[in-house]
Symmetry: C2
Subunit: 211 residues, 2 copies
């Protein structure tokens, strides 16, 4: 397969493919002569993965590069890959808002109560604390009363996710499903939450009008 065909198969413009190769997201084609190269199904799959992570997951090129490094790390155990993927997609830390200390204690307490085996330096711990401190700073601190319910829901979802990931026997498919499940799963979950909001709001506040 030459680059034009790869482009047609994936809907990605040729200069963009060249750009991804330059940026280290996509391996270069196999050179058959100084200025000809062949691409294969692996390139098609990789390119689709890149676009999925960017378009649906909203990842930057840099984040995709890190995620793919985790995917390509040979024979890492699942648990490590998950950690690496989470590191890679963690949003850039904004400045700590007021009240972050108290929010950190809230998060720590939640993790302890739940018995979650999470390292304190996990980026999601801080991300959660920042979100809670922001809510507090906006005068919506009572949001914390919803936390346990959120955590219940997430435990259930996470168990199902892990069972789903575990069904992939081949290691490289498994690793990829960890990444895809994390990134695209977020998009699925937030879309579903919005739909459920609309429904709950329709039941609560409207006779039947939909939005």
């Amino acid at each position: 397969m030459r680059i034009g065909e790869l482009s047609r198969a994936t809907g990605v413009a040729i200069p963009t493919i060249k750009y991804y190769v330059r940026e280290g997201l996509l391996p270069a084609g196999q050179l058959t002569s100084p200025n000809q190269a062949r691409y294969d199904d692996g390139h098609v799959r990789r390119l689709r993965l890149i676009r999925g992570l960017m378009d649906v997951g909203g990842l930057s090129v840099a984040a995709v590069r890190e995620v793919l490094a985790a995917v390509d790390a040979p024979e890492e155990p699942v648990h490590k890959v998950l950690g690496a993927a989470q590191e890679a997609i963690a949003p850039p830390q904004a400045a700590a808002p007021d009240g972050i200390e108290e929010a950190r204690r809230t998060v720590e307490g939640l993790i302890r109560r739940r018995g979650w085996r999470v390292a304190p330096q996990n980026p999601s711990v801080e991300a959660l604390a920042v979100a809670l401190a922001t809510l507090q700073g906006l005068g919506h601190g009572d949001f914390e009363e919803l936390l346990e319910g959120y955590a219940d829901a997430c435990e259930r979802v996470a168990d199902a996710d892990l069972a789903w990931v575990g069904r992939n026997a081949e290691v490289d498919r498994l690793v990829e499903s960890v990444v895809v499940g994390t990134v695209v799963g977020d998009a699925v979950l937030s879309a579903l939450r919005r739909l459920a909001h609309v429904d709950a709001s329709a039941r609560r506040y409207e006779g039947g009008e939909t939005v």
Copy 2:
């Protein structure tokens, strides 16, 4: 309060505040003379809201402007505000991936089975279909088996969210909590899901090592 004090109170640089005023995110101060203006607590709150939506929710300036328009719309019923907020924060529609038609039918079926009162043109419907089609295109189409579990979790979360929003008696606080709950709630939910993933993975794949 003059602009320097507003800047110190919120941690937002003066030129940035001026920029937000220019962009229509923040109302101008009350002029006391041709080149002096006063700002008040409303400006502090609004500025914090803007930064929360951008930093935690990841919204663009344009999205924040639309969200705030919904917040400021006088006396709109909650249901409408929710719809407007969702419109405003809907991610820009990427090109439809292959298999979008089938994914749309899957989503439609889910909504019908659930009895959700959602308009078919709701942007989250399409966002969900795009996410599912992407999973399919990456060879992870069996993710759909998790959908019902995700939907269960979201129904529970959404009910709690609406109850929480409904506790705000004053209308403007209520409207703001709809917006904040939607945007910042997403961040909370995805952080919790990641933590739950790490825990589930630790239990499943590791003796006790944390990530």
